[in-house]
């Protein structure tokens, strides 16, 4: 079928607008990359746009030697990996029974969990609970209160429910227990959903900010989000750590940009690998509601 003139115009307009939207998502990042790789003079005089000027790694050098970024990087990694593992484990432990028809009163439990999505105690009562459990200033305060996201749990439950029932009946006849069915049949068949939720939990832990700020008092335990935020709020955080001989060759903007790059790189590394899964995962959950 040939396009009419109006349709052609529509398509051209559509492509141009989409290209502009994509550019708006990329240009700010390119700008930051360029700032982080430019020389101090070029950054201060504002000559950097999308391409590094006076190419140099000095911002990264000052960042790594002059600030505790590496320590906070390892903290972030630890928070993320352990947190994601724990969250996935307990989410599976919640979603699997709720997806089984034999499970008595699963409707009641589902409703009780969904209720907490629309009504919750809020910040202060949650803080008091965490405080009374003695979790303040430990990573337990980051992992435990957010262990299960009810929304993620519902997504996983509907993924489990959509698996054909005959397969696990066959497994049962072959002498497979509930745990065997979960480990050998349900989980391998739900890989897109598992990858999606691991990404969601992982990004959540990696970017966690408010919980770290509230529960962690020891600056040595800060993750990158909080450290970088502190660096942005006050330059003195950088100056406290920096070697005075290096001050001449660095700018706060350059170091902040370098820090932002260090924070983004791990996300960009896993994002393309998981993209096809999360699109599938989100769609799966959305249609079933």
């Amino acid at each position: 079928m040939r396009d009419s003139r109006g349709e052609k115009l529509f398509y051209i307009f559509n492509y141009v607008l989409l290209a502009l939207i994509s550019l708006s998502c990329i240009l700010p990042l390119l700008n930051v990359v360029a700032l982080s790789l430019s020389g101090a003079d070029a950054v201060v005089s504002g000559r950097v746009t999308l391409w590094p000027v006076d190419f140099s790694f000095s911002s990264f050098k000052s960042l790594f030697t002059g600030t505790p970024i590496m320590r906070s990087f390892w903290n972030s990694l630890q928070i993320t990996l352990i947190g994601t593992g724990l969250s996935m484990l307990v989410t599976i432990m919640a979603a699997y029974p709720l997806s089984r028809r034999q499970f008595y009163s699963r409707r009641f439990f589902t409703m009780a969990m969904v209720f907490t999505m629309i009504f919750n105690g809020g910040l202060i009562p949650t803080y008091l609970v965490v405080q009374n459990l003695g979790l303040v200033n430990s990573y337990g305060a980051l992992w435990l209160p957010g262990l299960v996201s009810t929304y993620n749990m519902l997504l996983m439950r509907s993924a489990f429910e959509q698996l054909p029932g005959e397969v696990d009946e066959a497994a049962k006849i072959d002498g497979c227990g509930e745990v065997g069915i979960l480990m050998r049949i349900v989980l391998p068949l739900s890989k897109p959903m598992l990858a999606t939720l691991a990404l969601f939990y992982g990004v959540g832990y990696w970017n966690s900010f408010m919980s770290v700020m509230i529960y962690i008092n020891d600056t040595a335990k800060y993750n990158m989000t909080v450290l970088v935020q502190n660096m942005i709020k006050s330059t003195s955080v950088i100056q406290d750590f920096a070697d005075p001989t290096m001050m001449a060759s660095m700018t706060p903007e350059g170091i902040r940009s370098a820090a932002v790059i260090v924070m983004i790189v791990p996300i960009l590394a896993v994002y393309p690998l998981l993209q096809k899964y999360f699109v599938k995962g989100v769609m799966l959950g959305s249609i079933k509601g």
Partner: protein, 284 residues
């Protein structure tokens, strides 16, 4: 297997709901939650008689309603636009790029925003300077700050929120478009009469869900973008609870504020669902 799950929900979801009683008590550390003296609605009176807290409630409503008003239709439009792209490589590239900001933390986005809109050497202000000859303090003027606040939220999540609509769009029968095309319906007419009705249930579903979030403006977003020049418009319930509650140790007062916030959100979800049910599209 289910026991840890139950424990989690009881300790970290239901115990805090029980902890809401401190909104009606004069909480102090020595007496604890159970033994602190009752004060009834005292703290609610305090909240609703203070001009500052009323201003904070107003700010929360203004910022979130504006975000909803602007941010809700944009993912729908984006999904429809993406759905009309026939070059698959282009479509995939655009999708990969527009989904990405969703995964960046607000620290990073605030940094990108302040770099782009900086008075000196900001990319935006260099263009503005080129045209008007003068840089504009975008982050420090109330109106432009609100625009940047809304815009950054839309920028972060428009692509990601479009995924669900794209899924719904994939379910529309293509023969409807062919028939409409035969009858001479223009592209715009086809979108209006086929595409939009086709994704109506999804739109309503997401509308109900977003009503529940009207009372909460994300803490991170406000906290990172805030500055003292715009505090009058930028201080919201979540930052108030953090500052006065946690830092100022006014637990009872801010729990009352939190309870008010939760109740309004609860009522909004139920009314949205009630209205949706009148149109036969309710969530439950």
């Amino acid at each position: 297997m289910f026991v840890p799950v139950l424990l989690f929900y009881l300790i970290f979801r239901y115990a805090p709901i029980g902890g809401l009683v401190i909104a009606f008590k004069d909480y102090n550390f020595y007496d604890g939650i159970l033994n602190s003296p009752w004060v009834g609605f005292h703290y609610f009176d305090v909240l609703f008689q203070d001009a500052r807290t009323l201003e904070i409630i107003r700010n929360t409503l203004v910022l979130s309603l504006l975000s909803l008003l602007v941010g809700f239709p944009i993912p729908i439009i984006l999904a429809i636009m993406l759905n009309e792209v026939r070059n698959m490589a282009f479509k995939r590239t655009v999708q990969t790029i527009v989904y990405m900001p969703h995964f960046l933390s607000w620290v990073i986005i605030a940094m990108l925003v302040s770099t782009a809109f900086a008075m000196e050497n900001g990319m935006v202000n260099r263009i503005v300077e080129g045209i008007t000859g003068q840089a504009y303090p975008f982050m420090y003027e109330k109106m432009s700050w609100v625009a940047i606040f809304i815009g950054s939220g839309v920028w972060k999540d428009m692509g990601f929120n479009a995924i669900i609509y794209l899924a719904a769009l994939a379910g529309i029968n293509p023969s409807l478009y062919e028939a409409a095309g035969m009858d001479g319906a223009s592209k715009m007419r086809q979108i209006w009469h086929i595409t939009l009705p086709g994704i109506r249930p999804t739109i309503i579903l997401l509308m109900i869900l977003s009503m529940g979030r009207v009372m909460e403006v994300g803490f991170d977003q406000v906290f990172m973008l805030q500055n003292s020049n715009v505090n009058q418009i930028a201080d919201v319930i979540s930052t108030y609870i953090y500052r006065i509650g946690l830092q100022g140790a006014q637990f009872s007062l801010t729990t009352a504020m939190g309870l008010f916030e939760s109740l309004v959100a609860f009522i909004l979800v139920f009314s949205a669902n009630y209205i949706a049910r009148k149109f036969g599209e309710g969530l439950w």
